[in-house]
Symmetry: C2
């Protein structure tokens, strides 16, 4: 028995590859990386890795994290530039007892120690989008938009679990800004004895509720992943609305150690992808008229 | 009714000042800053602010965070250099809807925008300690030691709550390394409707259990702060020992909206300081023979 879940339609190719990998007895942590690398390298996905939309200075600044559900070990990098696969650095940091979270130049130095290749990550398309955005912001448009983190949670045949996230963050973010993606508990959390969860949306609001840990905590109280996702999103959405009169986008995925999964959102439609030893599934979580609902299409047996 | 709690004996002067400030109807957030600044500016305290012990490169790199319990708004800076009071930047970031967490150069840029003065933070004493440490590490000593974050949680007369942390992190840490102090949920969390908590110790292990959020979560389930602190520390200590055969230092403080407080640790002795409208207290949390205990000395009525 194995399974993997990922955020947004962009995860589909990666989830398929990771599914094949898991069916061949690959580890959950490696499967997460298989999935995330597929998204990072694809310039068509402008919120992750190569081709990611740049910050206000026109620079592509990436965040990524990895967590091993057997050891609770965390690796995380924030504000790293010039490497297509920040997830590789985050994953490598799992091997150390100290210095597991590195920011800015420190993350870069670790990537160089790993002999990762420095590359220009700004595609012509992203540069053009940035130039247009500079113009639009000058015209008074709200500068911030676009925050689709690729997140994935996996269970392997040995019941080990893992989670991974990777993002270029908010388009036009301030230099050095990080959202929830590299922050343990906010963007991701996984414990092989319970399950894992990950989040995407407005990082600044997701971290106010430590949303991924909250979902795992609810699963440890006995909730199935779907109920845990819905309850955590509803609670945070309502609390932020009550306290601050608004809640940013919150979308989450979860999977438990029994390969049950869930997803929820506070936006109209949040697509996600799941592979298990039974099915490959495209899902859509909805939040309409204050009600959670879900559509799942099994596209084929793997 | 008001109260404030801080980590380690070094917080005492700051807690006294913050207590006077709270008794004059100052806000919880400002009171936290009053306390933390007192520690940051004092070069005798070598794990925070000016005079903080440097990283492996010999540079003083600071982390700080602030959280407003009324709005759940977070401000956090990681790996910022040349400013004595990183807490001032973290607190200023509470004023924004986006870009609340800044790392490395981005945090520096924000400090400059605030017209904070750039200063050399490396004292002669810290430099000498670093040189001796380089030598000791060459002789085979384990490089990492010293991780006493100043953390504070406060309640003001309007029942608003706040939390703040500030640290120079692990002595001899890798460039760009951050621990739990600037990570929401791990190093700190506060919700004025429930209470707040903060942690100090080995950040790499504290973040494995999202320890501060876990304590607030336990308080929301009805536990008093002392029981919540003890249960959270015990659970994480046991889980890490079971999973990884070892647990790093974990020390925590908590205060709820009724100004009840608690502290717990998995080391022999963890000192903390509390001020309320009734007392100024020096406390020591102990963990001996797998049992939590506590001594509290009321030094005087404020």
């Amino acid at each position: 028995m194995w399974g993997i879940i990922g955020t947004w339609a962009m995860a589909e190719e990666g989830i398929k590859k990771a599914g094949h990998f898991l069916s061949n007895h690959g580890s959950a942590m490696d499967a997460c990386e298989v999935c995330v690398r597929e998204v990072e390298k694809n310039p068509a996905f402008t919120s992750v890795g190569y081709g990611g939309l740049p910050n206000e200075k026109g620079r592509v600044s990436l965040d990524a994290a990895a967590m091993d559900g057997n050891t609770l070990q965390i690796g995380s990098v924030m504000g790293v530039e010039d490497f297509k696969h920040p997830s590789a650095i985050a994953k490598d940091l799992l091997n150390y007892r100290f210095n597991n979270v590195l920011v800015g130049k420190g993350a870069k130095i670790h990537g160089l120690k790993m002999n990762l290749k420095e590359e220009n990550l700004l595609t012509e398309a992203s540069k053009e989008a940035w130039l247009n955005h500079v113009h639009a912001v000058e015209q008074g448009l709200s500068p911030y938009d676009g925050h689709d983190t690729v997140c994935t949670v996996a269970v392997d045949v040995n019941q080990a679990m893992a989670a991974m996230t990777s993002t270029s963050g908010l388009f036009f973010k301030a230099e050095g800004r990080v959202g929830d993606a590299p922050l343990p508990g906010s963007g991701f959390y996984v414990d092989s004895e319970i399950g894992g969860a990950a989040a995407t949306g407005l990082g600044e609001d997701i971290m106010k509720g430590i949303l991924s840990y909250e979902i795992v905590r609810l699963m440890s109280d006995g909730l199935n992943p779907q109920d845990a996702c819905e309850r955590a999103v509803t609670n945070l959405h309502e609390k932020l609305t009550r306290k601050n009169k608004k809640a940013g986008d919150l979308s989450v995925i979860a999977m438990n150690h029994k390969v049950e999964f869930g997803a929820a959102t506070n936006i109209d439609t949040f697509p996600f992808v799941v592979a298990t030893d039974q099915h490959l599934m495209r899902g859509k979580a909805h939040f309409r008229a204050s009600k959670h609902s879900q559509e799942i299409v099994c596209t084929k047996l793997l």
